[in-house]
Subunit: 220 residues, 2 copies
């Protein structure tokens, strides 16, 4: 699971051309930096802008070395997405129920974010077994995604398989109490959608005393 | 703005060590591929997993060349985030109002997604001028973010500056009708939070006939 917290996010302006990414990654590797993400923000024949998120023991040392790298023209530190948007709750399924789970999750995240947490709540209304299974399988690849809530009235088959796969990769899955085999494949089953959203946030908030693996029952 | 649509997403398993990213990016460059994102999913001394999103004229040619690259051990095509999660509406501000805007946006996105659109609705409840200004400034760097809704009762100062900056970068900003200077800096001002969410989705849905720049008034 993407639990690594990059403490350095940089917008690098470099010259373009082959070898630039190689040179930049070489400097980072020499400082034992672990690149968690590279996004090419702009790319013209003369100039490239790279957004890098890096975990590194000596951030100042790396910044100094990058400033002296031949390919680098400008370095602008930016806020990491981890710092700005924090951990993510992902909610997917039918629009009516996704909306109610979102209300619970957003209201609860608000209470924790006021106390210094950073939790964001991301949703996608989706219909159909294949699109939902595909979306479930994509969640572990989403940066900072920590818990998935499946909100609907009937989910099973390929979606159940996808739930078992992503749980094996370390993702926590909460399901509404619904028809189909998804509830029995999930970590937690909740009947009230607002409560499902609240519990999803509580499960990942460091400011909450709530651990799904400590619950004596798994259906509410 | 990140409007480029990568049509190829690959999970590459490679050997680890210096030069791997250089070799992989060289193969992609030789096929005129434009890398929009590289995420290092796993990185051990023996093995590296790279998630790449690439826009490329000849996808099959690139896949063939990567299969023959010395450093590449395995290639698994995965669904692009664009394909799975689509365009993003971002909602930020106070929890109570973010929740109501989300209800409108999720319900409206549901109606469009059923007709083949892919729109997701992402939120973060946040309080305070500096955290909100920082979050507004980060939105243009978020992949696939197309419209921002600011939901609160009072926003101005540094947030207003941030709104003007991100609009200059091409992002559409919708504000609730509220105290402070943010409404006058925004593309559209809406009083009802549910309607603000609905309009945000309509503004980016190809399945909707609604363009903010064609409206004769900007406050509702």
């Amino acid at each position: 699971m993407p639990n690594q917290v990059p403490q350095l996010a940089l917008m690098l302006t470099t010259r373009s051309g082959p070898g630039v990414l190689h040179a930049v990654t070489g400097v980072i590797a020499a400082h034992q930096g672990d690149i968690t993400s590279v996004t090419i923000v702009e790319h013209t024949p003369g100039l490239t802008q790279l957004l890098l998120e890096v975990t590194v023991p000596d951030a100042d040392g790396l910044l100094g070395a990058l400033r002296h790298a031949e390919v680098v023209q400008q370095i602008d530190p930016v806020a990491t997405f981890q710092h700005v948007f924090g951990k993510r709750v992902i909610i997917m399924g039918g629009g009516a129920q996704v909306g109610q789970v979102a209300i619970g999750a957003i209201t609860e995240a608000d209470r924790h974010n006021i106390r210094g947490e950073k939790i964001s709540v991301d949703t996608i209304p989706l219909v159909g077994e294949q699109p939902l299974a595909e979306a479930v399988r994509a969640v572990p690849r989403l940066p900072r995604a920590r818990v998935l809530v499946l909100a609907g009235s009937l989910m099973g088959g390929e979606i159940e398989k996808a739930v078992r796969e992503v749980r094996a990769q370390g993702l926590t899955v909460i399901s509404l109490n619904m028809a189909g085999s998804v509830p029995e494949a999930s970590d937690l089953v909740v009947t009230d959608p607002v409560q499902a959203g609240v519990m999803a946030v509580m499960a990942i908030a460091d400011t909450a005393r709530f651990r799904i693996d400590r619950l004596s029952k798994r259906t509410f």
